[in-house]
């Protein structure tokens, strides 16, 4: 695989990074969670310029699959898909919560790590990560629910864990991917982790959304 990698995540704001030989050499993080469609093109163009490379040099694309609010998440996946298609390079997917687990040093932890991010509507996206695992590995979730209900569920299971909540960044997502690649567990799956039905009022039968996580 070519040395240069473009990483995109829009599960929170718009976050893009360029990796060269496994190291993040440029990143842009825009925290506005309502402007992905406006900013995504400029962000990609800018991060390539910051990394002093041309689009032609990108050899692979990695994208965060969420879970995250639908509209923003989709823009990042659409952009990553289009970039990979445009350059004819492979596209990989990483669960966005893994980036938080990586940033919060799940691999060095003796406790399991509960990662939560804002799912709006008074709920959180969450996953419980194995203690000391590298790359990060979820033992429960990702899922979505009321924080209190999640804590209750984990308590009922008698689990001891440390809580972590931090913004997902492309830089950390890229590091997760490097670790996955080193272990040979990288994934070409880029379907978004919506975790919610497309329409709450829709009858559940016959729906093809809200697929379980692979």
């Amino acid at each position: 695989m070519n040395r240069h990698r473009l990483v995109i995540d829009t599960s929170g704001g718009t976050s893009v990074a360029v990796f060269v030989d496994g190291e993040c050499v440029a990143e842009i993080n825009q925290t506005d969670t309502m402007k992905h469609a406006e900013t995504i093109g400029v962000a990609i163009q800018q991060v390539l310029a910051d990394a002093k490379i041309t689009p032609k040099e990108i050899g692979s694309v990695v994208v965060g699959r969420g879970p995250a609010p639908f509209t923003g998440l989709r823009i990042g996946i659409a952009a990553a898909t289009a970039f990979a298609l445009g350059r004819g390079v492979p596209l990989f997917g990483v669960v966005s919560l893994d980036a938080v687990a990586m940033a919060e040093r799940a691999s060095e932890s003796s406790e399991e790590l509960l990662v939560t991010t804002d799912a709006r509507r008074g709920e959180v996206y969450w996953a419980l990560y194995a203690a000391g695992a590298m790359p990060p590995r979820a033992v429960r979730g990702p899922s979505v629910g009321k924080q209190a209900a999640v804590l209750e569920e984990l308590e009922a299971a008698g689990l001891h864990y440390r809580g972590a909540s931090a913004p997902v960044t492309a830089a950390w997502l890229g590091k997760v991917f490097e670790a996955q690649l080193a272990d040979g567990v990288e994934s070409r799956e880029v379907t978004p982790l919506y975790l919610r039905e497309a329409d709450a009022a829709a009858p559940a039968a016959g729906t093809q959304f809200g697929k379980p996580v692979n």
């Binding site: 093109g41 639908f70 659409a78």
Partner: protein, 499 residues
């Protein structure tokens, strides 16, 4: 002949006016008119000079997409005549017009200006007609002349992305030639909801995008690297759906290092006509009717002058078909179902109301539509008849409803043509599939002497080819690409052709 010719700027105005007054005397344009000419989007003025001294100028008007160019003026300062300035400027005007896609050029000349007429004849212009006494107060006739020119535009290869509603459309055009038009519809996914669910549509766009692009490339037998530009509809439409298409389009443009053109979806419907006729004849009235829109547009210039005459104040016509279909226990989408049932009914058996057609409404909503009252009237009719224990003739209800929709659409569209003195009507949008709409449109336009255009159905329904076609028109008109940070707008006005 190679004389120094350059584009005119506002700074040339004083020098141009000096020559203008010298050459034309009583016929000379006022300075304000000349300034407007210099600054207009449609005109291209250039000057010939000797050092710092401006000696001659000419202006040509090319309405983008029309295929036609007009020589607005040519003037050579008296002291610079017989040195080839007129010929050089005329050749330059012809080249410019050809470069902008014009295939014929027109001009007016005073019948008594023999030198000019000789020059034009030498350049292949032929007399088309005489305008009697056109030049006043001298009472001299104008001779209208015409010559064909060879359009020399390198035809741009443009990929268009459409994701405003429930159709993921990828089109590829070369200039005005359609190469591929792939449409992936999520309509079936919406069937159980009886209408388009925005989140369902947006999810489907993301899934459909890559396969649709790949299929379009295969059909067009081109590669992404060959593209000259990307075009994408950035509104009006469903916000979440629009963002999938624009997010992908922006990233694709960056990856390929190609310019991107953000275009108006509704104007795209009008632009589809260039793929069948090579141009959009202007002016034209356009009636766009779909599940999301019911709009009446006055198009004087595809790229620069599109005005919204009216639109629906509540439901779109297609939406009304879907809702009435539900009342009649028919399937989604309602249009084809009602069309089928209506074929067996009497359209005059029940007269349903024509929305916004009363004199009191016409003052404020002359070209607006309303279908929500009609839908309620149908529901009430069925309920009341059933309440009375009558056997409702559903075919008559369907036929009466359809007639009311079609009648009001075409009454207003034909009135718009007549009141704006526009002898053309273009139909677009998915509801154009309705057989009765097409039938009535043909009959009424014929009776009113209006030229009716109905593009092929695959170009009427939402599609990427029309977006690509409009993008190609912008490229050919020499327009700058959109900035990469353009926004999507669910209510983008038709006056914004390019964002």
């Amino acid at each position: 002949m190679s004389l120094p010719i350059r584009p005119a700027t506002e700074a040339d105005l004083a020098a141009i006016m000096r020559i203008e007054n010298e050459c034309f005397g009583t016929d000379a344009w006022p300075e304000a008119t000349m300034l407007t000419e210099l600054l207009s989007h449609h005109t291209h003025y250039f000057v010939a000079h000797d050092g710092d001294e401006l000696l001659a100028y000419a202006g040509v008007a090319v309405v983008a997409g029309s295929g036609q160019a007009d020589i607005n003026t040519i003037a050579v300062a008296p002291k610079a005549r017989r040195q080839g300035f007129g010929e050089a400027l005329l050749q330059h005007a012809i080249d410019t017009a050809g470069g902008l896609g014009a295939s014929e050029m027109f001009l007016d000349v005073r019948a008594d200006n023999e030198a000019a007429r000789a020059l034009y004849e030498k350049f292949g212009f032929e007399q088309l007609k005489i305008r009697k006494g056109y030049y006043q107060p001298d009472n001299v006739d104008a001779v209208v002349m015409r010559r064909p020119i060879k359009a020399r535009v390198a035809e741009p290869l443009v990929l268009g992305i459409e994701s405003t509603c429930d159709e993921t459309g990828i089109g590829i055009v070369r200039g005005t030639t359609l190469l591929a038009n792939v449409i992936s519809s999520s309509m079936e996914l919406h069937a159980r909801f009886g209408g388009v669910v925005p989140e369902v549509a947006a999810r489907a766009h993301l899934e459909a995008l890559q396969p649709a692009i790949q299929q379009a490339l295969a059909e067009a037998k081109v590669s992404l690297q060959e593209l000259d530009a990307i075009a994408v509809a950035n509104g009006p439409g469903l916000a979440g759906a629009l963002m999938v298409g624009t997010g992908a389009a922006k990233s694709l443009a960056v990856a390929l290092e190609k310019p991107i053109y953000a275009v108006n979806h509704l104007v795209g419907h009008v632009g589809a006509d260039v793929l069948e006729r090579g141009q959009v004849e202007s002016p034209t009235v356009a009636l766009l009717v779909s599940g999301g829109h019911t709009s009446l547009l006055l198009v004087k210039d595809l790229l620069d002058d599109v005005v919204l005459l009216g639109e629906t104040v509540d439901d779109a016509a297609g939406e009304a078909f879907d809702k009435v279909a539900r009342v009649l226990s028919l399937k989604y989408p309602g249009g084809p179902e009602i069309d089928r049932l209506a074929a067996e009914g009497d359209p005059n058996a029940i007269r349903f109301p024509r929305g916004l057609s009363q004199p009191k409404d016409m003052a404020e909503h002359r070209y607006d539509f309303s279908f929500s009252g009609l839908k309620t009237a149908v529901a009430r009719h069925v309920e009341q008849a059933r309440g009375r224990g009558e056997n409702v003739n559903l075919a008559d209800v369907a036929a009466g409803f359809r007639e009311a929709v079609v009648d009001v659409l075409l009454t207003k569209a034909v009135a718009a043509c007549q009141e704006h003195n526009v002898p053309r009507l273009l139909l677009g949008g998915g509801v154009v599939a309705n057989a009765r709409l097409r039938e009535v449109a043909k009959a009424r336009c014929e009776a009113a002497g209006i030229d009716l255009r109905i593009p092929d159905f695959k170009l009427c329904t939402d599609n990427g080819a029309m977006i690509a076609a409009l993008g190609a028109q912008l490229v050919m008109a020499g327009r700058a690409p959109s900035n990469l940070d353009f926004a999507t707008s669910s209510t983008l006005p038709v006056t914004t052709v390019q964002s």
